[in-house]
C-alpha cells in the first residue's frame, strides 16, 4: 500500500488528536505487512479488523503474498486468523524473524475441526516451536455469568473481549502475555533476531468491532515488537 506524505501526516495527526499512541518511525519506515491467509476463508472479519486498525492509526502497511514479499523490508509481520499455514508462509515467518522483525501470529483454530486443528498444531510445534492445547469453549451452554475478557499484560495491560473459544498454550519457553480464566492464551518469545508473538484468542474481530483498547494494544505491540530487536 503506498501512502503519500500528506496522508501519512494526516493520519498521524488524527491518531494524536484521538489520544492514541502513534506507531514508531521504525515501523512506518520499514512497514507492517499483513499476510492474508484467509482469502475466502472463515475469518475475514479478523483480517478486516487488522486492516482497519492499521489504516486508522496511520501505520504504513501493505497486504502481501507469501511468495512475493521481502522479509528485509518488514518491521512487523501480522498473520491474522491463521489456520492452515502452508510451507511458503512458514518460510516467510522464519525469514522475517531472522531479519529482526516482530511477527504476530493469530491462531484461527478456535473453531477448527479436529483434523484442521491437528495440522495447525503440528506446524506450530515443528516450525515455530509453539506448543498449543486443544481449543477451550469459554461459554458452555446456559452460562451467562462469566467475565468475558482476555487480560493482556504486555506491552500494556488491556482487557479485550474473548472470542468464545481460545487455543491455550502448552508449557514452553517464553513470556505469557495474556490470560483468560487462568488459561494462558498469548505468548512472546525471541525468535531469530526478532520477536514472535502468538495469539491464541482472536484479536481481529475486536479490532473490527472498534474496541479502542484492542486497537491501542495492537499499536503498542507494533511499536514494541518492531523496535525490540534481539
Amino acid at each position: 500500500m503506498s501512502i503519500t506524505r500528506r496522508r501519512f501526516l494526516g493520519y498521524t495527526a488524527g491518531v494524536l488528536a484521538a489520544g492514541l499512541p502513534g506507531v514508531s518511525l521504525e515501523v512506518t519506515r520499514r512497514g507492517c505487512v499483513l499476510l492474508d491467509l484467509n482469502e475466502g476463508g472463515c475469518f475475514r472479519e479478523s483480517v478486516s479488523g487488522f486492516e482497519s486498525a492499521l489504516t486508522s492509526a496511520g501505520a504504513q502497511w501493505m497486504r502481501a503474498d507469501a511468495l512475493w514479499m521481502s522479509p528485509s523490508r518488514c518491521a512487523v509481520l501480522i498473520v491474522p486468523a491463521a489456520l492452515e499455514i502452508p510451507p511458503p508462509v512458514v518460510r516467510v515467518i522464519v525469514s522475517c524473524l531472522q531479519a529482526g522483525a516482530g511477527v504476530i501470529v493469530e491462531s484461527g483454530a478456535g473453531f477448527a475441526t479436529d483434523r484442521e486443528f491437528r495440522a495447525h498444531r503440528v506446524v506450530l510445534r515443528d516450525y515455530l516451536q509453539v506448543h498449543i492445547e486443544e481449543p477451550v469453549e469459554l461459554w458452555p451452554e446456559n452460562s451467562s455469568q462469566r467475565i468475558p475478557y482476555v487480560d493482556y499484560t504486555w506491552p500494556r495491560p488491556a482487557k479485550v473481549r474473548d472470542f468464545s473459544r481460545v487455543v491455550p498454550l502448552g508449557r514452553q519457553a517464553g513470556e505469557v502475555i495474556a490470560w483468560v480464566d487462568g488459561v494462558p492464551v498469548a505468548l512472546k518469545r525471541p525468535g531469530g533476531r526478532g520477536n514472535l508473538i502468538f495469539l491464541g484468542s482472536l484479536l481481529g474481530p475486536a479490532l473490527w468491532a472498534g474496541d479502542a483498547q484492542a486497537r491501542r494494544w495492537l499499536l503498542d505491540c507494533l511499536r514494541t515488537a518492531g523496535a525490540e530487536r534481539v
Binding site: F111, S144, P148, S164, P205, A209, G210
Partner: protein, 279 residues
Amino acid sequence: MKKAIGDNMIPKEWGFEKGLELVKQAGFDGIELWLGDVPWFQMGTPDGEVRELRRRVENAGLVVSNVSTGLHWASPLSARDPKVRAQAVRIVEREIETAVLLGTDAILLVAGLVTPEVPYNEVYQRCLEALRSLGEKAARSGVRIGCENCNAEQRFLISPREFWQFLNEVNSPAVGIHLDVGNIHDTGFAEQWIEIHGPRITRIHVKDVMTKRGRCGDQSVYTNLFLGDNNWPAIRGAITKVGYDGWLVAEMEARYRYAPDQQFYDTARAMDRLISGQF
C-alpha cells in the same frame, strides 16, 4: 390492505390442507409460510414440493403473503462460529429462492442476536456485512428482505432511529423492515416506528402486547388484537399517513386453549376493524 396469517398457527393435528381451508373460511387473503417451523416446509423441502405448496395455496383461493422463518434464533447471522454463520446465510438464501417459487416478494429475517457472549458491536458489524451481500442476492431475485424488530428478544436495534440508521448503512433497496407492532413493548410506540420507516416497511406483523406484564417463564405478554396496550387508532393513523397498503400478517404467540380455529375467525374480524379504522 390484505390480511394474512402464519401457517405455524394451524393446529398441529390439522395438517396443511385443512389449515388452508380454515384460513380461507376465516376470511384471510393470504398465508405466511414459515420455513423450518412446520412439517410441510423445511430447509430440505425440494423445489418441486415447494411449487406444490404454492399450487395448494392457490387452489384454496389464497396467495402466499411472504416467507418467514424462526431458524435464525438457533443459527443467527451474528454467530461467531463461521459454520453457524454460513448456515444462517444459507437459510436466507433458501427463503429468497422459495419466495420466488411461491410467487411472493418478501421474506422475514431475525437479523442478529445480542447475547452475554456475543456483544452488540460485533453483532452490528456482522449483520451489516451479511445483509449488504444478501441484499444484492435478494435484489437480483426481485425479493425484499424484511429484518424483523424483535426488540426484547434480540436486544438489538431497539430504537426506531437506530434501526433506521442500520438500514441506511446497509444501503440496499432490497433490505427493509418487517415491522412487528407487538414487539415494541414498553420501549416505544409502534405508530412512531411506522412513521419513521414508512416506505422501508416490507410487511407488518400484527398482535397486541401487554406492556405492563413482564414475561414470566413461558407466559406470554402477547395477546389478541385490541386486548393489549397498543394504541390501535394511532397505529392505523400512521399506516394511512405513510401510505402503507401491503400485507398485515397476524402473528399470535398465545393460542386459544380450546376451539383453536376460533382464533382465526376472531383475528380476521379484528383485522377487518383495523383496516376499516372503525374503532
